[in-house]
Amino acid sequence: MDKLASHVEVAPGVFLERMGLFFEDVEVGETFEHRPGKTFTIEESLRHTLRALDQSPMLTDLNFHDQCEAGAWIINPLHVLAVLTGMMTKTFSRIVANLAWEKVEFHEPVRDGDTVYAESTVLEKRGSKSRPGQGIIRVRTTARTHHGRLVCTFERQILIYGRGQGPYEAAGY
């Protein structure tokens, strides 16, 4: 099966949508551009901030926020990181578990109305000794706004299934 295929022909003329790369499909140095981008609004940032129990005035009091050093309304950086992680799930969906984020840097803030796009480059891959048929990949993700402003970079270590492994066929995926 071509690793880039979007559908599997499960019966003549019947196509099942598929998504995501297995461990063998990924090569060090490859870069994947994630789509769609996402437009951030201050309302969603407020909602996610409050739902995480956070009431910092920096993130919840727009009157305060608009006038202090940070300037006009910024989107909660944790929500930005969450969306960037979500953007990665179509290419990196064959995941056993998300192990860690590292070197997370917030360069310029994402502001109300900004649209953000992300891309990920594979830095390393190694088979798992304790989990046959699975492997760990390390990727570096870079996110920019539609203006091209660099907003966030990070690395992730992800444990992913090898081909033929995982619950996919049994679960109808």
Partner: protein, 173 residues
């Protein structure tokens, strides 16, 4: 009597709620136990996925999850991260900027119905270059479940406002 006050006395028999320590009040080695905790449901995780365009069905397709080693849907780790950080706000409300994470490590799976608590330790305290109104902290925050097991470990840098001369005082905080 605590050295940290929950109110500012703004007049006779008049008190204003205050949150967050000033930079001067932090010291390396301090530990904070944050309250309240938060019980997360599987619906919270589904909402987080839908809001962050997260296509990882392990978080929202129970039938798929039943075929994995976890046997049920895993909590989206971006929600765990947001909540663990959000629960710290009453101590770190005067953060001016989240500088970035050295690491976010997910040490145990979280499931719907689990209750999370956060604890933090100040690892380093230093002046911030070019910043008279704020100083830099390095903090380690851990997320604990109802059994006291560490489910997430986060190490990050913060800029925290100094006493008196900050935006908070000017804006009646």
């Amino acid at each position: 009597m605590s050295e940290f006050l929950a109110y500012i006395e703004t007049g006779e028999k008049r008190y204003r709620e205050r949150f967050g320590l000033d930079f001067e009040q932090f010291a390396a080695g301090q530990k904070f136990k944050h309250r309240p905790g938060l019980t997360l449901s599987q619906q919270d995780s589904r909402d987080e996925c839908l809001d962050t365009i997260n296509a990882q069905m392990l978080h929202f397709d129970e039938q798929f999850a039943a075929h994995t080693e976890w046997k049920r849907c895993l909590m989206d780790s971006t929600l765990t991260t947001k909540v663990v950080m959000g629960m710290t706000w009453k101590t770190f409300a005067k953060r001016v900027k989240l500088l970035g994470f050295d690491e976010i490590t997910l040490t145990k799976p979280v499931f719907g119905g689990d209750t999370l608590y956060a604890e933090s330790e100040i690892l380093e305290k230093a002046d911030a270059a070019g910043k008279a109104r704020a100083g830099r902290l390095k903090v380690r925050t851990v997320g604990l479940n109802q059994k006291g097991e560490v489910v997430a470990k986060l190490v990050y840098g913060l800029l925290v406002a100094r006493a008196g001369q900050d935006d908070y005082t000017r804006h009646n905080y």
